[in-house]
């Protein structure tokens, strides 16, 4: 294209796909061909064993993403692919964060955790592992506050989302 008048933003997609081998790579190829980086990807079982749900978070231009959605919908194994970035949906993510935490700083850590409704899942002499659930933005904020402790390790599930009310995702 001559120009890309294409605001860059983070997009949350939900795909309902056939539970078949190869479906993940077909989907990943649509993103990689356009040079789109996938930030997070969750593939999971659904209420129907013949299908899987995928939640993908990717950063890129809006127009490019619209094209990607059309190309995803074109795949034979994709039942539907939708962008939920601009809709009010239920969104959750879970993170496990392991920080350096000597006994004298535990109280401080627990105070932050309480504000975020985070739970201790492993406590050792010099470390503390925490589980936190919430929106991706909440997790970002939580991570930021834990940084001064020294984050040894972090793993996040990636965002999962679900439409509200009687609507299906």
């Amino acid at each position: 294209m001559d120009g890309d008048s294409n605001g860059i933003a983070r997009h949350s997609l939900s795909l309902y796909v056939a539970n078949k081998p190869g479906v993940l790579i077909r989907i990943a190829l649509v993103f990689s061909r356009r040079g789109f980086n996938i930030d997070s990807l969750v593939v999971s079982a659904t209420e129907d064993p013949r299908f899987s749900r995928m939640n993908i978070v990717a950063i890129g231009g809006r127009e490019t993403l619209e094209q990607i959605l059309k190309q995803l919908n074109k795949l034979v194994d994709v039942i539907h692919a939708r962008d939920y970035s601009y809709e009010d949906v239920i969104q959750k993510e879970l993170a496990l964060i392991k920080i350096d935490c000597l006994p004298e700083r535990r109280a401080e850590a627990l105070q932050i955790m309480e504000a975020f409704k985070a739970r201790t899942i492993d406590l050792a002499e010099a470390t503390l592992a925490v589980e936190v659930t919430g929106s991706s933005e909440k997790l970002d904020a939580f991570e930021l506050l834990l940084r001064p402790f020294g984050i040894r390790e972090m793993v996040r599930t990636g965002k999962v989302l679900m439409a509200r009310g009687a609507e299906t995702t």
Partner: protein, 570 residues
């Protein structure tokens, strides 16, 4: 069916017969032996090719010439990887193919067994859909789905990877299969409100233009296109693959637009106030600069593939649907607007800027092609390779019907012309099939001369021989200070002797005076033949729009000044 068990391979062949397959193109190997075995004595003709790329292009030429699904059957590993170019070619041009690859036994997959390749992984980007069969019981469903997917909607190649233990296992019967394709839907009618809006917009336009693409040919919309053009007095341009949907001799046909299109087609495209594409995807070869293309015109797009809408050209009205169906909905709503002055203007351009070439000196490729078209007649099927000869053929081979012009468009695959002609001739026996090829592309697949010869197919091959990779040479001459790099085809064989060694009748054209006489003799020859036309080495194709430039920057003749390097790709 009796109580006898069938093998997976037999089930595959049984369903091919059920699907109406007449020809299977391919080359066997260890993993495909059970399938080749199942073909013995069955009512499907096996065409043994010399290379798997040739097999897929033959299936492709067969499909384009007939509208049926082309079928190729190859073995695992290199047999399968050799099909990649053919798959890509078919995908880019929406050609219905089913390509079956033998595969090593399923327990060896991923273990680097002999001739074991991740064929699914290698081919994902080159297929409409693909299958790796892991249970013999799935074969009937998979094969039926493959044919359905290949030919329905926007057609394309479908690959079936068939491990040897699966093709060799047995099943009770092929019965009836429930498809499992919940993610695949076919468009029905076009949105009626949008169709009505288009009818209104065309009526209001003073300078409307129809852009006819391959989709119109695939959907069989010739009659509707012609009715539309005549009813609205709306001139039409076509893409390379839309040639012939509207007969090019029609007074309102302006021929091909784009990079090497006719001057009058491009002038009309620049000047129109409405352009409606039916089954084209606004390829960069026809659009030039996306920012400048028909900037002030109303743009309408009819396409069966939703992913094509607003992909590269943003349109005012887009309609998702099959070309024939949507035009059928539109025709009763159309009322003629006032296009008289526009039609007169377009006719003036046609008179003022005809396709032309220099006739003095050595043999001119355009001369050979123009004469060939005249002698071969309106009903002949032409295939081409890719490069200068292809563009000259697009200009000088007026096409009167769809499926009479077979060329690799989107992929631009050199080596396509000869195998495609073989497939076309098998699909259209008794009709005249002519392959116009360049000396470069021809050498990529000329091993298929043996296939052609063995089948005694009366294909006429015309080699436009300029001893160069001419299109690249043209670019280097125009945009790269004549620094020729990698374009001189020194070492070419003597094509006449080469053909003769296969037992193919061969002729040579070296002087302009030979052209008519030799072509006449070649076309009259009852059997395969080849004409080596030794043409002027340094001719370039004009008109030309440098890649990425707006259509108004069209060059009608060799420029006198040095040109900047094009901004668009190749």
């Amino acid at each position: 069916m009796s109580d006898k068990l069938l093998t997976g391979a037999e089930a595959l062949v049984e369903i091919m017969i059920e699907e109406g397959v007449e020809y299977v193109f391919g080359l066997p190997g260890g993993s495909a032996i059970p399938i080749y075995d199942a073909l013995v004595g069955r009512n499907v003709k096996l065409i043994l090719t010399r290379h798997e790329q040739g097999a897929v292009h033959m299936a492709d030429g067969f499909a384009r010439a007939t509208g049926k699904v082309g079928v190729a059957l190859v073995t695992s590993g290199p047999g399968a990887t050799n099909t990649v170019t053919g798959l890509f070619t078919a995908l880019m041009d929406s050609v219905p193919l089913v390509v079956v690859c033998g595969q090593m036994p399923s327990w060896t997959l991923g273990l680097d067994a002999f001739q074991e390749a991740d064929v699914s992984g290698i081919t994902y980007p080159c297929v409409k859909h693909s299958y790796l069969v892991k249970d013999v019981a799935d074969i009937p469903r998979v094969v039926r789905e493959a044919f359905f997917l290949a030919r329905s909607g926007r057609p394309g190649p479908v690959l079936i990877d068939m491990p040897k233990d699966i093709s060799g296992a047995t099943l009770r019967d092929i019965g009836h299969s429930e498809f499992h394709l919940p993610g695949y839907s076919l468009p029905r009618e076009g949105d009626q409100a949008a169709v009505a809006a288009v009818a209104k917009a065309i009526k209001a336009a003073r300078r409307p233009l129809l852009l006819v693409g391959h989709g119109a040919a695939i959907s069989g919309a010739s009659r509707e296109v012609r009715e539309l053009v005549e009813k609205m007095r709306m001139p039409a341009v076509s893409t390379l693959l839309g040639k012939g949907v509207l007969p090019e001799s029609h007074e309102l046909s302006l021929g091909m637009l784009g990079m090497h299109g006719t001057a009058y087609a491009n002038k009309a495209t620049v000047a129109c106030d409405l352009i409606m594409s039916v089954g084209s995807r606004w390829d960069d070869r026809i659009v030039g600069s996306y920012a400048e293309f028909c900037k002030d015109a109303v743009k309408i797009h009819i396409d069966i593939d939703p992913a094509e809408l607003d992909k590269v050209v943003k349109v005012d009205i887009g309609i998702i649907g099959d070309a024939k169906t949507v035009l059928g909905q539109m025709l009763p709503l159309l009322e003629r607007g006032d296009t008289d002055e526009w039609v007169r203007q377009v006719a003036r351009w046609r008179r003022e800027y005809p396709l032309a070439y220099r006739k003095e000196g050595k043999v001119r490729a355009q001369h050979v092609i123009e004469e060939l078209r005249a002698l071969a007649g309106d009903a002949a099927v032409f295939t081409t390779d890719v490069g200068q000869h292809q563009m000259w053929a697009a200009q000088f081979v007026g096409s009167e019907a769809p499926r009479n012009w077979i060329s690799s468009g989107g992929a631009g695959t050199m080596g396509f012309g000869l195998p495609a002609a073989i497939g076309a001739q098998l699909g259209r026996p008794g009709e005249r099939v002519v392959a116009i090829v360049g000396d470069g592309g021809f050498q990529m697949t000329l091993s298929e001369l043996a296939t052609m010869c063995n089948l005694k197919l009366p294909v006429k091959i015309i080699v436009i021989n300029n001893h160069y990779l001419g299109m690249v040479r043209q670019w280097q001459s125009m945009f790269y200070d004549e620094r020729y790099s990698g374009v001189d085809l020194e070492g070419n064989p003597d094509f006449v002797k080469l053909a003769q060694s296969y037992g193919i009748k061969a002729y040579r054209i070296t002087r302009p005076a030979d052209v008519r006489r030799v072509l006449k003799a070649a076309l009259a020859h009852d059997g395969p033949c080849l004409v080596d036309a030794e043409v002027e080495k340094h001719d370039n194709v004009f008109p030309m729009i440098p890649a990425g430039a707006p259509l108004r920057d069209m060059l009608l003749e060799p420029p006198r000044r040095k040109l900047d390097k094009p901004t668009g790709g190749t």
